[in-house]
Assembly symmetry: C2
Homo-oligomer: 172 residues x 2
Amino acid sequence: MVDPRPVTAPRMSAAEEAAWVRLIAVTELLPGALDAQLLRDARLTHFEYRVLMVLADSENQTSGMTRLASHTNSTLPRLSHVVRRLEDRALVERFPCPEDRRATNARLTDAGRAVFAEAGPGHIETVRDFVLDALSPEQLDQLYAISGSLLGRLDPEGRMTATSCSRAPASV
Amino acid sequence: MVDPRPVTAPRMSAAEEAAWVRLIAVTELLPGALDAQLLRDARLTHFEYRVLMVLADSENQTSGMTRLASHTNSTLPRLSHVVRRLEDRALVERFPCPEDRRATNARLTDAGRAVFAEAGPGHIETVRDFVLDALSPEQLDQLYAISGSLLGRLDPEGRMTATSCSRAPASV
DNA sequence: CGATCTTGGTTGTCCCTTCAACCAATCGGA
DNA sequence: TCCGATTGGTTGAAGGGACAACCAAGATCG
């Protein structure tokens, strides 16, 4: 209780704080940048884009809601709202699953496929501009390993399979 | 037009896609994890916490709105709303800047200082659990460099100074 | 087979962010 | 000195996400 320092932020080591501050900045700025480009060029949220992408990569362009939610790192309520909106825009259609009558399937429509196909190249280019082209091949590997470690903490059970990526626990 | 492949996501290289997918997952999961802990333990958003932190680190616990916005990677409208809410909770007070009569200053109140001081240790611990302790010292340096490169693309003018961190362009 | 638990999903409400519009003060010339 | 442009900031409406409540269908077990 004799510490004379003024009230200030609790400190980590300098290296830790520097890395942490930058990581936070990236997590704040990147989503907005992706959304901005996709909304401008394709009237699509980045999250909506990923929903369409998972469907495009699924058998018959069809997936159950729960699987779709885990492949987009999303909650079921969130996904339900988003799919309803996409359905209103006729990019996706929902129908009851034949095998399990509790389940709902979402399927990409022709219009949805067209929108997704048209949005793809511009989005990829944006990802290159903002991320991939900024990193060396070694840094890409490092990013893969680092993100893997963080996901091991953020999503220990590996529920968020994200995509077909087989989430081996962060071995370089 | 003779490409026989089914409609599918435009592809990057395997290494690029793998790293990209994981980065996206981190940017989706990390903010929620931080918000959850702070809301539970201190009724504070991570963004609100950072507003309080910047004020705590400012001279006289006071800062103009524009400076506060750039130090929190935020827009002015967003900050304005948040500061109004914090003011409603008496954690912050606003008053006109004496030197520039257009400007508004925000100052941390005693209550705000107390809430921030109480929230700090738990938050730092969470950051350790989710991020810092998951990485080796080398990875921490790599993360610093990688994030720096990305910020060079996401915020070229360096408007988002984030904190006192002097944003030298991503030299390791 | 009936009671209960779990799984799969939707809906409504609240809160926060975004965006556009707006206003006041200051600066920069002509 | 006056007018336009820029800076600093607020506000209101609109849209998306989180959470809790809810419901229906399958599974489990007596």
